[in-house]
């Protein structure tokens, strides 16, 4: 368990002055992760997306650790190459340090276009942590739907129209897809529960092998809420169980934060512009459907915990 005072003392590895929106969750996530890594040297890779764009506009970089951006769909493949070179050069005695490798991808770069590269890298067993900063749509290109966009959400490619009220499909469960690869560690987290997130990162980095953390990242622009509410919205996602935070360690499930009282999902939905149309009289059946799906998935998760 991390101690806030100690975390702060570890230093800042992502400098301020980057171009992220006020209230952006992705840079909060990166700062928590790099603080969690602390003194362990890390090399980071990042998929094309908001995070890469806002932190690396040449000739500036916000990254105080070695960083590589390659393309959109290949952060996992890229970091696997970096890690392979590390192993080769270490074997030859050209590198002395123990280095850890972290890849970042948004949900577009992870759930959709990058899922193949991620699946391959995990199957090959590279020593890496892959982090999906999951803001549930293609935010960098202007809020288009992804495989992670939840049912009912308005995006620019699943707009709330007069006939079709937002995204019709449920999101895929990527954490379970990755867990099915049997990596030593897979988890879901949210920066609103910083201690949980930091602990998970420390744990993931302690394994020798591929690990994965799917981190829900509230996005004030794409989700439509005031920038100061990022942490609050994330907390509601966890407390309504639309985003349970849990881990699968060597196949063993553990819910790392059980809400004292499981709040109704409308508490989470009503605070966001992207769900506003669901509260119109003709769409209320959608709200019931969303709640039902959450209840089923939550029960299923509880059943996994022995």
């Amino acid at each position: 368990m991390a101690n806030l005072r100690e975390l702060v003392r570890r230093g800042e590895f992502l400098s301020g002055g980057h171009r992220a929106c006020a209230g952006c969750g992705s840079t909060i996530i990166v700062r928590q992760i790099l603080a969690a890594a602390g003194k362990t040297p890390v090399v980071c890779a990042c998929a094309t997306g908001c995070l890469e764009v806002v932190t690396t506009i040449f000739p500036y970089t916000a990254w105080k650790v070695p960083f590589i951006h390659n393309a959109f769909e290949n952060a996992a493949a890229t970091i696997s190459g970096v890690e392979a070179a590390y192993k080769a050069l270490k074997k030859k005695g050209k590198i002395a340090e123990e280095i850890k490798f972290i890849a970042f991808g948004g949900d577009g770069g992870t759930y959709d276009i990058g899922i193949q590269a991620l699946s391959g890298a995990i199957e090959r067993g590279h020593n890496m942590l892959y982090v999906c900063y999951n803001n549930e749509a293609y935010m960098n290109t202007g809020i288009q739907r992804s495989g992670s966009t939840p049912k009912g959400a308005h995006t620019t490619t699943s707009p709330a129209g007069t006939v079709i009220p937002g995204k019709q499909q449920s999101r895929k469960d990527l954490t379970e897809i990755i867990a099915a690869h049997d990596p030593p560690y897979a988890a879901q987290a949210c920066p609103s529960y910083w201690n949980d997130l930091v602990t998970k990162v420390e744990k993931a980095l302690s394994f020798n092998g591929p690990t994965f953390i799917n981190i829900l990242q509230p996005c004030r622009l794409g989700w439509g809420y005031p920038p100061e509410d990022t942490i609050e919205i994330g907390r509601l996602a966890v407390d309504t169980c639309i985003w349970p935070i849990y881990e699968v360690e060597n196949g063993k499930y553990r819910i790392t934060h059980r809400p004292k009282e499981k709040k109704p999902v409308i508490e989470f939905l009503k605070k966001q512009e992207r769900f506003r149309h669901l509260f119109l009289a003709e769409n209320t059946h959608f709200l019931e459907e969303i709640q039902r799906e959450i209840d089923i998935k939550w029960e299923r998760l509880l059943a996994c915990v022995v």
């Binding site: 890469e52 070695p66 960083f67 393309a71 970096v82 890690e83 392979a84 590390y86 080769a88 699946s119």
Partner: protein, 392 residues
């Protein structure tokens, strides 16, 4: 030095074994599969120190190569056809990030229709990606080219990736007599790869692949272009040095019986060998024929090529792919463009041949020489772009 009998694929894998790269990330594809599987066996048998990344696609293979090279490793891979096509996006990134990755490419037609045999459409599709492209007439050249490609790509004035190509099945699966160097000779010749900046230098963190907008992108691309302009000079020096050390000298192109020639056939890869046989045959009948083999397609040594070809009365450019420009194949358009500035310009004619592995034989090339003779007599090109050996 040692003499071996090996196929094109076997010898490319052998060259890779001798280079002993830090990382090989690859994915199997016909007709390059053997290169990857032979290399995997070298790894399994402990004959190399390489970390082998058996990627789940060519896109990921090249992406991993980019990661590994950015981390400071000497990196190689191999692919063909659809595999190279799947890499296209990241080929540009490898070049833009100035990573001297060496790729053993076995030329094969692109779908559709699906086909596994030789043509150059795959490699030609990558011609503007910023990669150096070396073509090989036979397995000996393939071997020598792979070793030299590492030297060329890593040259401080170059730092660009390079692909060495062989012709699918024609070279890749044909057994030939090849002279190879000793492992130690290769090791000494190539030396250690010491990149200036790497991701693994924790004390000096760098950002690789930053977002480069209107204010810097152009300058960075210009620098990349500038480096490509240095490549011909480096290739000549490396080819010269290789010749002095190991007895086989290489240039940007090879001129076969061009001294007194009036007509020439220009070709890439294995067809140059077939053309040499045809050339000998038509010379016996009194034709002043020659063969001009282009070794380096990227960069394109326009000035040097034009200088040599402008002495001809007529040339036929043989293209094993089409560019769909309706102006002929990619080699033809490059050659025609190169000749534009020449004081004397030969008549030029294009033959697109051998798509999807359609065989090209000595008789067909002899007919091309015969056509060239008629063209000289008439002093006129009647058909600019011709399709050789196709049923129409």
């Amino acid at each position: 030095m040692k003499i071996v009998a090996k196929t094109g694929n076997e010898i490319m894998a052998e060259a890779m074994r001798q280079v002993n790269p830090d990382v090989v990330a690859a994915y199997p594809i016909t007709p390059a599969t053997e290169v990857v599987q032979l290399f995997a066996s070298f790894v399994a048998d402990g004959l190399v120190d390489t970390e082998f990344v058996p990627a789940e696609s060519e896109h990921s293979a090249m992406s991993a190569c980019i990661g590994a090279a950015s981390a400071g490793g000497r990196v190689m891979t191999s692919t063909a056809s659809q595999g190279l096509a799947l890499m296209y996006e990241v080929l540009y990134i490898a070049a833009g990030l100035r990573l001297p990755i060496v790729l053993c490419e076995v030329n094969r037609a692109l779908s559709s229709p699906i086909n596994i045999h030789c043509d150059h459409s795959d490699t030609m599709g990558a011609r503007d990606s910023g990669w150096i492209q070396l073509f090989s007439e036979n397995s000996q050249e393939a071997y020598d080219n792979v070793i030299q490609a590492v030297k060329i790509a890593e040259h401080p004035e170059v730092l660009l990736p390079a692909m060495v190509t062989t012709d699918g099945f024609i070279i890749s699966h044909a057994m030939e007599r090849i002279e190879i160097l000793d492992d130690n000779e290769v090791k000494t010749y190539l030396g250690e790869y010491k990149p200036k900046h790497t991701l693994l230098n924790i004390k000096q963190p760098i950002t690789v692949g930053a977002l480069d907008l209107q204010d810097y992108y152009f300058e960075h691309k210009r620098a990349e272009i500038h480096s490509m302009q240095n490549v011909s000079k480096v290739i000549l020096n490396v080819g010269e040095e290789f010749g002095k050390k190991f007895g086989r000298k290489y240039g940007l192109f090879e001129e076969y019986k061009m001294e007194d020639a009036e007509m020439a056939i220009v070709a890439l890869g294995s067809t140059a060998g077939t053309a040499k046989v045809a050339c000998d045959a038509v010379r016996e009948k009194g034709l002043k024929a020659g063969v001009f083999k282009v070794r380096i397609f990227r960069p394109f040594a326009a000035q040097e090529i034009a200088e040599s070809l402008s002495r001809m009365k007529v040339i036929a450019v043989l293209d094993r792919s089409d560019s769909f420009s309706s102006q002929g194949g990619p080699l033809f358009t490059e050659i025609r463009s190169a000749l534009y500035e020449a004081k004397q310009r030969p008549l030029t004619v294009n033959y697109v041949y051998g798509l999807g592995g359609r065989d090209i034989n000595v008789e067909q090339i002899k007919e091309v020489y015969s056509d060239l003779k008629d063209t000289v007599t008439k002093n006129k090109v009647e058909s600019l772009v011709n399709y050789l050996g196709v049923r129409e």
